[in-house]
């Protein structure tokens, strides 16, 4: 090992000395012991590192932090209890576990069952069709489409039950609600034409306002460019059943496009930012087209009276 190799390795040596006994640094430290130039460099390096590390330790920690953590835990526990032990969780699927491939970038059309114990009735859209006419695509049809298209779901998400509109009691007695059910609630919300509490064209203002109100935190990157390039009309906090939703409205090509974000329980070990399911349909009564995208800990709903395919096209522009 030469001086430069040793120097490179020793840069990863923590200044508190905890790594000195590590075999990883043994040879490099030995080289430094016999090389006066390297030894002097190491001494200076450790002083610099120690100074920065000490300054980090002096970064003040808000005294309310622990209280905030415990409050968040308590709130989470209450939410879980009120939801019957699982905010939104995925059901175990059949034995076939699709392999890990090609899902993050492809536009899979799976319809996943998500469960929210309780509150199902309140999610049903007054205008919604119980069967959820999905432009002629039933759940089975969509599943076939998925398989035919060769779109696979990541192994970690194989536990999802592929289904469509089942909002009735699950086999185990729990009440369940599908992503479609939540979408119907979103349609009803949009159709109610409530005023927006905040108006303007500044997404950052909206983000702060929604967050202050306890709404799901918006990640701007989650809004497709095809929609975010439109004119912002307004935003408000909405409730779909028992779920809090951040609700934005854009004007795109002279039509309103509503964006609703609903937070969910995180999918354990789901890669961050990966889309794990999508759905699309048009409400036959209201004519509102819906595109839903399920990510690891949130569901985006995009709704508009634009043609369903047009809405899909807008949501794929990212």
């Amino acid at each position: 090992m030469d001086r430069e190799q040793a120097r490179f390795i020793l840069q990863s040596l923590r200044p508190d000395g905890l790594d000195e006994e590590s075999a990883d640094f043994e040879e490099a430290l030995s080289v430094a012991g016999e090389d006066s130039v390297l030894k002097a460099w190491l001494s200076d390096e450790r002083k610099r590192d120690a100074a920065i590390a000490a300054a980090f330790q002096d970064v003040p920690v808000p005294p309310v932090l622990k209280e905030k953590i415990m409050s968040a835990m308590e709130a989470d526990g209450e939410a879980e209890a009120s939801l019957g032990g699982g905010d939104i969780e995925e059901k175990q699927s059949g034995s076939e576990a699709p392999s890990l491939a090609a899902t993050s970038e492809e536009r899979e059309m799976t319809v996943l069952k998500v469960e929210i114990a309780g509150g199902v009735n309140s999610l049903a859209s007054p205008a919604g069709d119980a069967s959820g006419n999905a432009s002629g695509k039933t759940g089975e049809g969509m599943l076939r489409g998925v398989l035919l298209a060769g779109v696979l779901v990541v192994g970690a998400f194989a536990s999802f039950e592929l289904t469509s509109n089942n909002s009735g009691p699950a086999a185990n007695g729990e009440q369940t609600v599908s992503m479609r059910d939540v979408g119907r609630g979103a349609v009803a919300l949009v159709e109610s034409d409530l005023p927006f509490e905040l108006e303007g064209n500044d997404l950052y203002d909206y983000q702060d306002w929604l967050e202050a109100g306890g709404g799901p935190q918006l990640d701007f990157d989650g809004i497709p460019e095809g929609i975010s390039e439109g004119k912002l009309v307004g935003c408000r906090l909405s409730r779909i059943g028992g779920l809090c939703a951040s609700h934005l409205c854009f004007e795109v090509e002279d039509s309103s496009v509503h964006v609703l974000l609903v937070g969910t329980m995180p999918i354990i070990e789901a890669p961050r930012g990966w889309r794990v399911a999508t759905d699309r349909w048009t409400c036959p009564d209201s004519g509102v087209a819906v595109v839903a995208e399920r990510y690891d800990s949130r569901i985006w709903f995009f709704l508009s009276k634009l043609d369903e395919q047009k809405l899909v096209d807008l949501t794929t522009r990212r």
Binding site: F8, I9, Q11, S12, R14, P15, D16, L18, D19, S22, D24, E45, R48, D49, A51, I52, A53, A54, A55, F56, Q57, D58, V59, P60, V61, P62, V64, L65, K66, K68, I69, M70, S71, A72, M73, D76, Q217, D219, F220, D221, M265, P266, I268, R272, G273, Y295, D296, S297
Partner: protein, 153 residues
């Protein structure tokens, strides 16, 4: 005190400092830490193991940061609140981390928090060990370059 409260006691401060370095906003850093513990607590098999908590909590926080804020907040350019006030420690010793390239910042922050060796940092950030070592080296060079430039200026 429950096992979970003990975890909170041990890790809330370093997690907060890591979060603050990433999001550069006091409230968001607290929110991120609180959410990290909530997520962690939902993994009973994980949260019962102290040895996993040391890397698992930081890994959870980092993933949550990427998921919620993406690169948006990392580009805010807001400086890390100075640690210097009233401590006699030069503020510029902490502040330069805020000017590091974004891909170097998480690695250097974890390195200087000194809770993890470079192999554990690799686990937390889901990076190859060699990449972590390379980033530590590059980050230090950046810091020294900036300090030298400031001293010259």
């Amino acid at each position: 005190m429950t096992h979970f409260e003990e975890l909170v006691d041990v890790y809330n401060r370093p997690l907060y400092r890591f979060a603050l370095s990433l999001v550069r906003d006091l409230d968001r850093a607290m929110d991120l830490v609180a959410r990290t513990f909530v997520i962690w607590s939902r993994q009973p098999e994980e949260s019962s193991k102290c040895d996993k908590a040391n890397t698992g909590l930081f890994s959870t926080l980092y993933r949550e940061h990427l998921g919620r804020f993406g690169s948006e907040w990392g580009r805010s350019g807001r400086p890390i609140p100075s640690a210097a006030a009233g401590t006699g420690v030069p503020g510029e010793l902490v502040e330069p981390l805020g000017s590091l390239d974004l891909d170097l910042l998480p690695t250097l922050t974890l390195f200087y928090l000194q809770k993890h060796d470079y192999r554990e940092i690799a686990t937390i950030l889901d990076l190859p060990v060699g990449t972590v070592m390379s980033r530590i080296s590059s980050g230090k060079e950046q810091l020294q370059g900036k300090n030298a430039a400031e001293n010259d200026g």
